[in-house]
């Protein structure tokens, strides 16, 4: 899933319970234009600034490290964690790539 689709799915899930998460109101709180947010969500714009990503993470109560990574950036927190535990990186990739088998 890409950045736009991810924030759209987060926002829409929240909006189903709370109208404060409409496109316009989320854009307002993140201090960006609603048309820009719409373009981000629909993948028209794909490279928001770090400031915009962090503002959206804050408004949507999302993990800022994850949102930054989805836009191709690595946060300082993530970088530090990786330097402390480089051994876990391979394990993370394995887990992320592994295809789960079920019952059939």
């Amino acid at each position: 899933m890409n950045f736009g689709a991810y924030i759209k799915s987060l926002r829409e899930a929240k909006r189903a319970e709370d109208p404060a998460f409409s496109l316009r109101r989320v854009a307002e709180r993140a201090d960006i234009d609603y048309s820009y947010l719409s373009k981000l969500e629909n993948g028209v714009w794909t490279e928001p600034s770090e400031k915009v990503v962090l503002a959206l993470a804050d408004v949507l109560n999302a993990d800022p490290d994850l949102l930054l990574a989805m836009t191709g950036r690595v946060s300082k927190t993530f970088q530090e964690a990786l330097m402390r535990r480089p051994d876990l990186f391979k394990e993370f990739l394995r887990l992320a790539r592994e295809v789960r088998d079920g019952e059939w």
């Binding site: 899933m1 689709a5 295809v99 789960r100 088998d101 079920g102 059939w104």
Partner: protein, 384 residues
Amino acid sequence: MVELINDTLVFQSDVHANAKCIIELQRTLRIPDDGKTYPLPPGLGRFPIQHLDAHKERVPSNWMHRGGVITPLYQSEALWLKFSSAGIDGQGRYPFAIKVAAGKVSAITGEEWKPSMTPNDYVVTPGQPWLDGYAVSKGKIRQFIAAPLGSGYTAEEQITGKAEFGGIQIEVFPMKIDVFNRRFPYKPPVWEAASARISKNGGFSGFSGGITTNSLKAQSAGRGPMRSRGSAGRGQSMNSGLYSPQMDSMSMDLPSMGLGAGGQMEQTIQKDPFDFNDWDTSRGQRVFIHLANSLVWRAITGQEPPHPPPTAADYTRQGFPWFDYYQDGPALDGTAKLANLKSVAQLDQQKYGAPVLPENASTHPIHVVQLGDKNPNKIREGTW
């Protein structure tokens, strides 16, 4: 362990660190279902594949229960499976037996899915580079084409009478490690030998040693000669009338897509060149590939499916190549169960009294590229 890496399924066996079987789903033309037998159509690039678990909230519970991955297909779109395996330095490519089923019906025998493997219900890589459809008779297959489950078109429904599973099922078995070491003893890698052998389109001759892991990785990644079929026609901008949005919305409420039988194509299913006991049946690894029509794919992943492929007629008109692949060695005969499968066009005729399948006009491939042992570009090696 089965991993999904760059839209490719990688079956990593624990018999050896480099024992990896690599399977791709290739986009392709749908060949006309007109009673003629066609050569091999090109590969138009890999289908996107995603983890089912990445979309837990939007995936039906019966899909989640089966696990696996998901890929998008337009209704009536065709596909083929590409097989390869990684190499072991000094010993050649590691052999794997691969079972392929659609709707839990074997594409090789037409039998319903059984755990483990039985003689002649699988293909072997290296040796069998691809599979384009149901093996209906010796040297002939009927192309896999997507059909909504419940419509009566899939092989699963025709053979089992039920519309239960859909999708594609794959199980991969490695050769026993002691058998591999006995059959393919280590020979020190020689670069020149490796280069020469790689040009043989992945035949068994590659086994006799000298292939480096890196060169085989390059080959499996699509830069090697096996890819000559896969890269043809890539990047073209032809439109197709194949896709009909109405057809997709009709199937939106259906739980899954399955594979029906399309037009006839020349393709040999090679017999297992090894002994049945050479396979390590205790180390099977399997995956369920769910097929989603374009609307379901969008709803689940939030992404657009690839652009519909061109029609066979448009492709041929542009002068793009078709392929013929010849390889020596015994072939499987095909079974009565699969020979009796009705194609989508035949079922249309039965149901509606007229062909309904869109873009099914006959075409006449003129530019056919020879691959395999009859490849005219292959340089003959003498004795010296």
